[in-house]
């Protein structure tokens, strides 16, 4: 059964159709990739799938539960987490605190408990810190645990966002161009991390520009062009699709 289903999804901005009539389903436990040339509507689609944009029409269903029109935090509460192409790190906090924020949904704590610092909260905070540390080690940032986030290199910040997203214990993790701006060695590292994520059972949606990365790890690929679906299938199917070759690979194969 599919984890996420999208029906007739459209988004327009003042007459510009950024996303048009998309229908697709993301099976649980897979790496699902969305690719397309610049301006194809990839990021818009991601913003729709996380509630940042409200669709002009269509529906978004997570396991048959309709999330259309809900706020981003409600998407997160249902188990959808994401990273950003334009980093949205909390630069006013340390790296570890960034990841601890990700635990927000799972640390139920009332305002009185927070203000008076009940002993139960102190215990929960210790657990939260430990879990955040272990997540940082998982994404390969063990050395940065105590760093202020604004002193970290770009590649590390990308991993930091992944760790923060993982801290929400997502069922669906959306990665927006995790390799953009990284050098080949760093890209390989991210590649490995995504595989590791997939093995851990999280369903991953990978939005990418970097074809090599996608072809290597994706189970299924959705190709967008001008906001519309161009093709969908396995890596092999997509690679052979003449429309894809013409619109995307043909134009900028590398």
């Amino acid at each position: 059964m599919s984890l996420l289903r999208v029906e007739g999804l459209s988004k327009e901005f003042g007459g510009v159709h950024a996303v048009q009539q998309l229908d697709f389903a993301i099976p649980a436990g897979q790496v699902f990739s969305i690719i397309g040339p610049n301006g194809a509507g990839k990021t818009t689609l991601l913003n729709l799938l996380t509630g940042i944009y409200v669709p002009s029409s269509g529906r978004i269903l997570l396991e048959a539960r309709d999330l259309t029109g809900r706020a981003p935090y409600e998407y997160a509460a249902r188990g959808i987490a994401r990273t950003f192409q334009n980093l949205q790190v909390f630069f006013n906090m340390s790296a570890l605190e960034n990841v601890m924020v990700g635990r927000y949904l799972h640390e139920r704590c009332g305002l009185p408990a927070a203000l008076l610092r009940f002993p139960s909260l102190a215990r929960a905070e210790r657990a939260c810190r430990e879990e955040a540390e272990s997540l940082m080690r998982f994404v390969g940032l063990g050395e940065y645990a105590q760093s202020p986030s604004d002193a970290m290199p770009y590649g590390a910040l990308k991993r930091l966002e992944i760790a923060r997203a993982l801290a929400t214990k997502p069922r669906l993790l959306l990665l927006d161009e995790p390799a953009a701006g990284l050098n080949p060695t760093e890209t390989l590292g991210i590649d490995a991390l995504i595989s590791k994520l997939a093995e851990s059972g999280v369903t991953v949606v990978l939005v990418e520009h970097n074809m090599k990365l996608v072809m290597g790890v994706a189970d299924r690929i959705l190709v967008l062009d001008y906001g519309k679906r161009l093709a969908e299938g396995t890596a092999e199917e997509v690679r052979r699709d003449p429309k894809v070759i013409e619109a995307y690979l043909g134009a900028g194969a590398h």
């Binding site: 913003n47 940042i52 950003f84 192409q85 334009n86």
Partner: protein
């Protein structure tokens, strides 16, 4: 249209035009630097006080006016050079506090250089009221309205046709891109402060014959100008003018038809109401997060 309504409208337009000039000053600096310059009202004060001072010293009025505008512009340039530029990179709130400090400093200087008295300035063309459909209007109000129209036209020419104006606009849209195409952003910033200060001074001079001038007139006019700029949409030139006029008219109508004690409160309630429905003001750029 009753004579009473017309009278309220004329009063509102005159005051509104002054608010508009102050609001334009806010917007120009904001566009170039993202700074809300809370010392904007002090330029208004400097314009008025300096003109009065020079006129009392025997200068002919036009010369006194020109000199006062230049003095205010020089203070504006100094403010940018000495206070805003060294603090570049600081947070917006920090910059706001710096300009608040500057406004206190300038007011303090005004009490020392000049005095704490309230001063009149002779109206430019007499005090004989002009009858207009049952309402009356002072010639000075015509000066206020006329000069405001001329300044708005000049500004639209400046931003639309001149290189410096276009550079200012470009910087406001995207500072980095402006820098990349070879615009000297530092000069643009400097120019914006000078221009805003001059505009504020003109407002202060125009209004002085109607409302007098003193070391602390900038406080309320600065506040109203800021309110007008926000109402119209911060950074929008037409918005600043519209915001100023709307604010002036709302105040006059509120005082005339509702309650004169609550007229300022009425104006702020309306501003709040507008912001609830149009969170970027009447003509402000609609912002959307790019993520």
């Amino acid at each position: 249209m009753s004579a009473q309504f017309l009278q309220f409208l004329l009063a509102g337009l005159t005051v509104g035009a002054i608010y508009a000039l102050v609001a334009l000053g806010f917007s120009i600096i904001y566009n170039a630097s993202q700074v809300i310059n809370f010392a904007q009202g002090e330029f208004v004060m400097i314009g008025g006080m300096c003109t009065v001072w020079l006129a009392n010293a025997g200068w002919p009025l036009p010369a006194a006016i020109a000199a006062a505008v230049l003095v205010a512009a020089a203070v504006g340039l100094a403010l940018e050079k000495l206070a805003v530029e060294p603090a570049r990179g600081a947070s917006v709130v920090t910059l706001i506090i710096i300009t608040i400090g500057a406004s206190i400093l300038l007011r303090g200087l005004a009490t020392i250089v000049w005095d704490k008295n309230i001063h009149p300035l002779k109206a430019f063309s007499g005090e004989a009221p002009i009858q207009l459909g049952g309402a009356t209007l002072l010639p000075q109000s015509l000066w206020v309205l006329g000069v405001t129209v001329v300044i708005v036209l000049l500004l639209s020419w400046f931003f639309g046709r001149t290189l410096l104006g276009k550079a200012l606009l470009a910087t406001s849209h995207n500072r980095l891109a402006a820098q990349l195409v070879g615009i000297n952003v530092r000069h643009v910033l400097l120019a914006s402060f000078g221009l805003s200060a001059a505009l504020g001074a003109v407002a202060g001079i125009l209004v002085a014959p109607i409302t007098f001038t003193a070391w602390d007139v900038g406080v309320m006019l600065g506040l109203k100008g800021f309110a007008a700029a926000i109402l119209g949409g911060m950074g929008s030139g037409p918005g600043a003018v519209l915001g100023g006029l709307v604010l002036g008219i709302v105040e006059a109508m509120g005082a005339g038809y509702v309650s004169s004690a609550y007229k300022d409160a009425i104006a702020f309630v309306i501003i709040l109401a507008v912001l609830f429905f149009l969170p970027s003001g009447l003509l402000g750029r609609r912002s959307s997060d790019r993520v």
